[in-house]
Symmetry: C2
Subunit: 604 residues, 2 copies
């Protein structure tokens, strides 16, 4: 079994050749240290840590899982040391402000760690991932006192963080929550409620857990407009900053799940003994807005989780296909003396590997580009540019959560198929990757919710400026590729698909604004598929444009690498793009069947 879960050469291609990430160092003083030498070091160290430390604990974590015994949650044994050295390596808050213990790294570059770490052991990575997110909330919305109390402890991993949204009756509809907050005389709030599906809600990795909690202050309106955000620690914090009295946050159960066994998914009861106290984070009744900031970052992270599984599945499958000897070459079936070959020589297995290759490469570029846009949204030289990049992040977030995880699951399933019968055996890595990956389609807003976000919010955002800008950006890759004779035809194909998608987007947008709104939303998910397909084609074309130029002087391994990028584009255009056009045609139908059908026409 290979120890390589990702393709370093392709990572370097995206970082240096596609996004030229070393130029980010000029944008902001925090970034100044991230020259090529430093980035190289980050890539090496992230890979090293992933392969040497995180990966070996992945299977053990899956097998041991988490346990709740006598009110205490234990995580897999091997996670304890891992958590310690992860924090010692200062991997938790790569992109956060150095003032609070972060590394100040551009998100573009931190993507490398996100890829390697999630590919190696994403159930473990959820603990620091959520901690970073919770810390980010405190940084953005906290008072100075809240920051002083919590932030450094979170960003150094001394304490962990969570995200308490979901209740049994409030999942996708967060605004239906019933957790209550009552103001105390000292300005704090007494919290009572029951939360479920809390990742890392309780565990034995750190001395305290800080819960950002959505709750409704007594007297606030129903729905999302009456939701406020609170900080609720597991143990109240003493004046000297140490954890003190237990804050009545009780883990009442943990879930037995299909995957991510190493991460504890908890039901938490807050204030069942009337003794749970929190402080308001941000403004009263503005909890949803604050949470959305965190959710969007969390959605990008989920994209990396799914993608991490996909890249690992691809690399394993490739290694297996190279080493598994089975069957003769198709051209020598009739030759009794022909020797058996590795299954990579069989056309159907090559198709599977190409499907994985193109998807993984396209997803990688798409994810890293979105993180690049996050950097530029903050630090691009002009406010106009910053706005443009912010718009890109807005539009691409549902794509890299919804579309990428849909495809990532397919890549994992394809990888299992390459393994044949061995893919179904838990001893081999494919089963866990498939199981773990499956949650990424569900949490942080199901992929259906993402599709509604794309159609309902992002498409018409700022009168459609971000989506128009994005089409403009896409056409840059077409323009660049058209200038190269060897890519001209392919650029025209991709342009055709972009234009078709633009037509579909206008049609879908208009339908969503018409009396046929329900028909539009019944087609939101296929619209997300088509949009994602075209975004992938854009990335593959962009990549090919760079590769074609480099090929003129490239040698040996690099030559093969660049040629492989051209093959990915060819494969995608020939096998996937016609299907994408079919999806676009289907969207122009905007089928009403799912809306029109009477409930009684379904089996009773």
């Amino acid at each position: 079994m290979t120890q390589v879960i990702s393709d370093r050469r392709d990572i370097e291609f995206v970082i240096y050749e596609q996004l030229e990430a070393e130029n980010l160092s000029r944008l902001h003083e925090n970034f100044a240290a991230f020259n090529k030498k430093t980035i190289d070091l980050v890539i090496s160290e992230a890979k090293n840590f992933a392969v040497k430390e995180l990966l070996p604990a992945n299977k053990e974590g899956d097998e041991q899982g988490c346990k709740l015994e006598k009110g205490k949650v234990t995580t897999p044994e091997c996670f304890k040391r891992l958590y310690k050295i992860f924090n010692e390596g200062e991997w938790l808050a790569l992109t956060e402000d150095p003032e609070w213990g972060g590394q100040g790294m551009p998100r573009t570059i931190a993507s490398v760690a996100a890829e390697y770490f999630n590919g190696a052991n994403f159930p473990f990575m959820m603990y620091p991932g959520l901690t970073q997110g919770a810390g980010h909330l405190v940084e953005k919305f906290g008072t100075q006192e809240q920051k002083d109390t919590y932030l450094k402890n979170l960003f150094t991993g001394k304490w962990t963080g969570t995200m308490l949204l979901t209740e049994s009756g409030a999942g996708s509809d967060v605004g239906a929550l019933t957790t209550k907050a009552v103001k105390n005389d000292d300005g704090t709030f007494s919290i009572t409620g029951e939360k479920i599906f809390i990742s890392g809600g309780d565990h034995d990795l750190a001395e305290n857990i800080i819960h950002p909690v959505l709750a409704r202050i007594e007297g606030s309106p129903d729905g999302t407009k009456g939701v406020s955000l609170f900080l609720v620690p597991k143990y109240r914090v003493n004046k000297d900053g140490t954890p003190g009295e237990f804050n009545d946050v009780i883990c009442t159960g943990i879930e037995h799940k299909l995957g991510i066994h190493g991460n504890s998914t908890c039901s938490l009861s807050l204030g069942s003994k009337g003794n749970c106290v929190g402080t308001l984070l941000g403004e009263k009744n503005k909890g949803m807005k604050a949470m959305f900031l965190m959710m969007n970052e969390a959605r990008c992270l989920v994209g990396f989780q799914g993608f991490g599984c996909a890249t690992a599945a691809y690399m394993y499958a490739l290694d297996y296909a190279r080493n598994r000897i089975q069957g003769k070459n198709l051209l020598e079936l009739m030759n009794p003396k022909a020797k058996s070959v590795c299954i990579m020589q069989h056309p159907d297995v090559r198709r599977q590997l190409m499907m994985m290759k193109t998807n993984v490469e396209g997803m990688r570029s798409l994810l890293y580009f979105t993180q690049y846009c996050s950097d530029m949204a903050l630090y691009a030289p002009t406010p106009e540019e910053q706005d443009k990049y912010k718009g890109f992040v807005d539009v691409l977030t549902p794509i890299i959560k919804g579309y990428v995880t849909d495809r990532a699951f397919e890549v994992c399933s394809q990888g299992m198929q390459v393994y044949g019968g061995y893919g179904f055996i838990e001893e081999y890595p494919m089963a866990q990757l498939l199981r773990d990956c499956r949650i990424t389609l569900i949490y942080e807003g199901t992929n259906g919710i993402q599709a509604m976000d794309l159609l309902g919010r992002k498409l018409g955002l700022n009168k459609g400026k971000p989506i128009m800008d994005l089409f403009g950006e896409m056409h840059k890759a077409v323009f660049a590729a058209k200038a190269l004779p060897e890519l001209e035809k392919q650029a025209i194909k991709v342009e055709e698909a972009m234009n078709k998608l633009a037509e579909v987007a206008i049609h879908m947008g208009q339908t969503a604004m018409s009396e046929k709104i329900l028909n539009a939303f019944a087609n939101a998910h296929p619209f997300q598929d088509a949009t994602g397909d075209v975004a992938m084609a854009w990335m593959l074309l962009w990549r090919a444009g760079i590769a074609a130029k480099k090929l003129k002087t490239a040698k040996n391994k690099d030559k093969s690498f660049y040629e492989g990028i051209l093959k990915s584009l060819q494969f995608y255009i020939e096998t996937q793009l016609p299907v994408t056009l079919g999806r676009c045609n289907a969207l122009m139908n905007t089928s009403s069947a799912a809306v029109d059908i009477d409930d009684a026409m379904f089996p009773g």
Copy 2:
């Protein structure tokens, strides 16, 4: 949680209204008893047994799994009673000859039991399923002595049967096997070898296990041409028919699998102490031919296994969507007084349910029709008709194994998505269905092997007569629907897809015969997808043609049911068929990218 795992009304539609299965009773004396009254009884009893007995044991079977301790394999505790009452109910050999303990039931009608039973508990059903298959081999190829010794015991479930093909170096390439057979003076053979992935290879459900074993007789040629089939009992059979001496078939391990935990997947060592004896079944060196007969039946069964998971997933998801209250109606989002509705009211959930509905209905008709063709292949009035139906079975077998299980897995995943976070929790039924269903894409020949079978063997079989006949049969449904004004437009759409597929089939067939053979086979799986899509459209159109006629007089529930069938067709034509045409366009490209790419262009 609903107890209904399938849609009885739709089953009756397929049996009585689409296939008119009661007319089979006129074809053969064995079938004479199967009039409508008997069929009704079969449906009721199968449903009853599935829901009351098999289903409650499904989760327990999954959780307990199988264990190997001190050389003994134990199955889940609840399977013991189940196996006993299953045999007492005479469910094992429904379609087999009454002379040997079978029920002589048409396969068309036995499909009902296959659907209900596999939907309720397919890991359990593998034990009787493989037993029936092994018995069928004995019936077809056994000597009178072999039949007398084994057949009744197998068909009554007193003993079970297996299928010993795979070895660690011989999976998809069965001909690479190394298990040896050496002839003894008494005409028996001493067998030595190691087999893996043997479903039900050892267990504690029956007093003896009969293994059909593929092995190579000393001196026979390499590859598939030197493979013979043997009957190897776990315990040798005494003259009085009782199990006697242990036959040196040792279970050396069982697999820890992603799913089907209730079924033991064994590694078996034959003759490690030099004491394993078998008898030749059928002719020397003709083992593959015999095995293929069984494999084709097994492949149909695998289609039912996948489909069973899909129909159960659909019914569970539907029930969940009807009862889960979450979020407001999209049209009332701005109304603060609007109440939350069941998620079935949300357009994206309706789309998911329609996706499941159309796929399940189309797959059901396709599976039952194939079984109907098996009946007609044996008993149609004329030899010409028998040949025609045999050709249909040949062509449709890779579709109902390869295509149906691919779609079934998607349906299961879609069902999980309807459940949201609960779908990922093992307490709910979706996780197991997804896990169990996944094996159906792999075993009995991976779906890639099925696609190669379709393109390489079935497309050109008998100079293309079966595939031409099948197109002819498809056009009957178009013709019938065109005669109905309300379906004319839709019939034209389906016809268009059929014609496009015919064009693709000719192109793919020619490419497979040309120097571009590798390109053709690198596109075999997408070709299987496109063929399956069109077969589904055919079935949905056929069904709609019947429903449209019946609607003229139908009332109440029946009216809704038939209207639902029309909606399925509409949904499929509007959302899937354009994608299918896209797949066809992609196939006309017959991308060479996967074949051309150098191995070195993949990451090293």
